[in-house]
């Protein structure tokens, strides 16, 4: 079953090698980096308004990180040899750095989560008995010191880890962009802007996901949503989406203005195969609408009801998640729809639902982090501070004229 080709494609070019899984991979790592940036805004930059999700976003980053390798493993022709990338890396390969980048970042995340939750782990260990007590004391690594002094040290370590984590998160995701940007064989990928675009869009997807996850988690737990928390995230989201879209546009404008050899085929690609996913989805629906929605939230948020603000920010976030996904799709799949002969386009790629690298496996991968989060919440509460504040009546439904945010 040979796909149709418009023009002339090199005969080996009619296959889509990097499937939906390779679209999912940068999408998930983007969420890792983005969620981490949100948690760092709280832990390092002291955005106090983000206190309800300081822990949540950190654990979310870890949850996404744990599944980030799944799409890759599912894609590899020989996943049983995957460890070769870590034990026998080839120094000249950009991809070989993956093992190092991934493990480094995972280590930082695990350590930071551990220090953030250390007190809770110890308290739970003390409170419980039997197997549970044993498990938690193992989790506590048998250090039970929760004196003021020890906790202050914990706090310092968390700040340092979060601070190291920021460049690491940027590196991790910029690196994913570099994998594409450094291939001179493909003019649609090969641009030094690629890592930067990947990075900024990662932050966009991360903040957008955190807004939605915050709204959903509070809804599920019956806890109040704080106006200031959403407003702060919406402001950052607006800023980062403007940067991202500007860069994305700059890339196209430069390509078209330079009008190099490759532009002929890229223009065809954009106007035919990607016309929907690029122009309609990524640029108009995905960028313009959230831009306007967020602008309303940022400029007039304080004059509207908290609920309206949340709905607008939530809608913008949902759309931006689609935008970032379509951007990943347009890069990864778009780059394989034209031949390196620069003379031909193959028919569009439609992943099957039940295929090994199809839609169902992608959905499972995208759901997995939430399963991890639910399990985590059962073991160690991520919203304890919010629950306590709500119980003490310090925060409440803001539209109903209840107590406003205390922080």
């Amino acid at each position: 079953m040979i796909p149709e080709v418009l023009g002339y494609a090199f005969p080996n070019d009619v296959h889509i090698l990097w499937s939906l899984m390779i679209v999912t991979y940068p999408y998930v790592t983007g969420l890792v980096a983005g969620a981490f940036i949100v948690s760092s805004l709280y832990h390092v930059f002291g955005r106090k308004e983000l206190w309800p999700i300081g822990r949540f976003s950190l654990v979310a980053s870890l949850a996404f990180m744990l599944v980030a390798t799944w799409p890759l493993l599912n894609h590899l022709g020989h996943p049983e040899r995957a460890f070769n990338i870590m034990i026998t890396p080839s120094p000249s390969s950009a991809m070989a750095g993956f093992g190092l980048a991934y493990n480094w970042y995972l280590m930082i995340l695990v350590l930071e989560v551990w220090f953030v939750f250390r007190k809770d782990i110890i308290l739970t260990a003390r409170r419980s008995r039997g197997l549970k007590r044993f498990l938690f004391s193992v989790l506590a690594l048998r250090t039970y010191d929760i004196s003021e002094e020890a906790l202050a040290t914990d706090h310092k370590i968390v700040t340092v880890l979060a601070a190291i984590g920021i460049p690491s998160a940027c590196f991790l995701h910029g690196y994913v962009g570099f994998l594409f940007g450094a291939l001179k064989a493909n003019p649609w990928w090969s641009t030094p802007l690629m890592p930067v675009i990947f990075l900024f869009s990662a932050v966009v997807s991360g903040i957008a996901a955190m807004i939605l996850m915050y709204l959903a988690a509070m809804g599920l737990k019956g806890l109040p949503v704080l106006r200031e928390t959403v407003a702060t995230m919406a402001r950052w989201l607006w800023l980062f989406m403007i940067l991202t879209v500007t860069l994305e546009l700059l890339e196209i404008i430069t390509l078209s203005y330079e009008s190099s050899e490759a532009w002929v085929i890229i223009r065809q690609l954009l106007t035919t195969r990607l016309s929907f996913s690029f122009f309609s989805l990524q640029l108009v629906f995905g960028s313009l609408i959230p831009f306007i929605l967020l602008m309303i939230v940022v400029l007039m948020g304080s004059q509207m009801k908290a609920r309206v603000q949340n709905i607008l920010a939530g809608a913008a976030s949902a759309i931006l998640l689609v935008q970032v996904f379509s951007m990943r799709w347009n890069v990864v799949i778009g780059g394989q729809l034209f031949s390196k002969s620069l003379r031909g386009l193959r028919s569009p790629y439609q992943p099957g639902f039940f295929e090994k690298e199809g839609i169902l496996p992608m959905l499972l991968i995208l759901v997995a982090p939430f399963v991890i989060l639910v399990i985590f919440e059962r073991v160690l509460p991520m919203f304890r501070a919010v629950e306590e504040a709500a119980a003490a009546g310090r925060i409440g439904d803001e539209d109903a004229g209840g107590a406003g945010a205390t922080n």
Partner: protein, 260 residues
Amino acid sequence: MTDFSRRQFLRTAALAGGGCAVFLLLGERRAGRASVPPASPAGDYDWTQHSYAYLIDTVACIGCGMCVKACKAENRVPDGFFRTWIERYEISEDGEAAVDSPDGGLNGFEENVSHVKISKAFFVPKMCNHCAHSPCVQVCPVGASYRTKDGVVLVDQERCVGCGYCVQACPYSSRFIPHEEDTPYPRTAQKCTLCYHRITKGLKPACVAACPVGARQLADMKNPFDPVRKRILTERVQVLQPELLTQPQCYYLALDKEVR
């Protein structure tokens, strides 16, 4: 006494970290070894005494597809993938180029029936260029793609993880990853090996042996008496996409500007 002291914990952590570092360093050393290609082929063949190049005469090629057939049979190339293929170029009087390669030229070409006035037409055989500065070798994360001492770019089928990075990095689309289980090595990167199993025994690559008009020739650049080497050195040759500086070792005679 409730607990280990923090200091003790840190010491344990440091030890664990050190252990990881040692493990990784050992990995690096093994990697160093792994990226050295397997030893020179058995027998009295000495790979330091050869350096292969390839010469394609686009004027001589008649587009019969014998080379594509020979390659497929010799290397059990799976259907729909090509280690070598033939392109046909037909350039009309107003400069429009029409290119095709039905089934990679496996069964030759049908006569052209278009109504445009053709001013020139020719065939261009394509294959891996065995680039001396090959992007495919550069990007392979596990060192499965490598260049032999005698100048052939190969893939170690036992090491390749099938990530496909090399396929994306090759500007000439010379590589592919077959998923069909009926190939000797499914789900790993494959490409022209210059029939390494033949040339190291003094035989010609299957495509060279099959070409009825001598349009495809193997050269040994370390053999001063090799006539093909002499042609490469003395005639005007071109390589594909020279602007990418991949240093292809596959040279073309009379390459047209339309060919990429």
